[in-house]
Amino acid sequence: MKKILISALIFCLLLSSCSEFLDLKPYGRTIPKTADEFSALLHKHLGDIDYGTDAVIVGNASNVTAYACYADNLDASLTEKDFRKVLPNYIGTRINSFQGLYRNLYSRIRDCNIIINRITEADKSTSKGQEVLATAYTMRAICYYSLIQHYCEPFEKGSSNDQLGVPLVESFDMEARPLRTGLQNVINFVIDDLKKAIDLNISKEEYRFTVDVSKAYLARMYFWAEDWTNAIAVSKEILSKHPLISGEAYVTMLTDRYNKKGNVLLRSYIFPGTSDLSYESVESQIKHRPASKDFVDLFVEKEADIRYELSFNSVRQNQKNPCARVRSAEFCLIIAESYAHLGGKDAESLEWLNKLRENRISPFVPYTMFNLPKVDPDYIIKKDAEDKNLTSLMYAIITERQKELYMEKDRFFELKRNGRPTFWVGANGLKYVMEKFLYTTPLPKSDIDIVNGLKQNKGY
């Protein structure tokens, strides 16, 4: 009898130890601790950017092309029949893929948090420790910037504290279930991270996110958050160090497949690798969706504009390398637009717009307030970032940006920033409408189901 009792007790004890085993958290044994281990963690992500396998932080050819398909530079209705299933008609076709992007962005943030929270004071005093820390701050900021661009409504001055941001995860905690904070909080967090990275002043190219890249994203963040004065100041710093280039140097910068040339601060594809085949495949696929006539007609100067033949051929097929880049021209346009928003600074705005145009068009006639192009009443964007009707100056700046940053993963976010216009594309007798809510992509459904109180974006 005693034997049975003892065996029953042992059996119960064994089961309780099984339950304990389930409570064990494996991460305690695997988290990196030294600067070298942190560096290895970062280099996995940096390697993805270099080899063009990253579709999360900077974006590869396939990713850039997808965003081009979501916007209006290409005419989705004219896609060749065999490629209608390969190339998305509009963002709705791939709306569910953004649930994966959300998870991937937070997985990068998790890695950065591990580094930022766990790097020792001793490591912080070494050059490697500082390089690793600055890279982690910039990478985390870029991920949050991307989350803001995708999962938050466009910035609205005066109500940004009430606008929904994204959950702010500042430290590594598997059990945490944070809710969405205010948009302004997330913006402040990004700015703070980038300033910390800038203070560390890293110039080693090996880590890709140098101090100039941090400044570039700081300018982008200020610009998105309509802080025009700071956007101008930081963009001018970038341009003073990386001036605009023109002619052959400009063509080489954009056509070089694997080298960071000219004033490019950051780009995907530094080394040819296994992704090369997918790059070529994307380039050939996108030729089956021509550029839209409205976009082509924006090149009023035709061949006199160096970007005309660089962008498409005589039958409007794409000629430009689909590649996500951070380069000086964007910051020149940020300055021009920011001055235009400030009011009373039209002369300064024109000056910077002309600086870009004189490097692209030959022979070049500078814009004045009297010869600016009239706003096309059929132009897809009707309102600017401040919800005002387009002026001739703003129209000139926005269309210049459309031409300059074509196939560089910019236009979709420009549409989002400037009034989220609705438009439709036709395919197989059906009408696909790019509704306003689709500019803000959905949070993963599983997160909404698991986390009590986590709010989904409107429309989903």
Partner: protein, 65 residues
């Protein structure tokens, strides 16, 4: 006595198994639709169809030049 002991063991085991079950299942509800379904595309009306046909014809002409 034997029956009582076996009963206790079964009850304890059942309780522990159900607790473990809760622990395992809580984070991810089963049978949940994981994707978002948008409104289906609508049919093109006659005017829209004509507009598209004109654009296609214009592009074909450009392509065949």
């Amino acid at each position: 006595m034997k029956k009582i002991l076996i009963g206790i063991v079964i009850i304890v085991n059942c309780l522990m198994a159900s607790c473990t079950g809760i622990e395992e299942e809580a984070p991810r509800p089963k049978g949940v639709q994981m994707d978002y379904i948008l409104y289906p595309p609508s049919e093109l009306n006659a005017q829209e169809r004509l507009y598209l046909e004109e654009r296609e014809a214009e592009y074909r002409e450009l392509f065949n030049k």
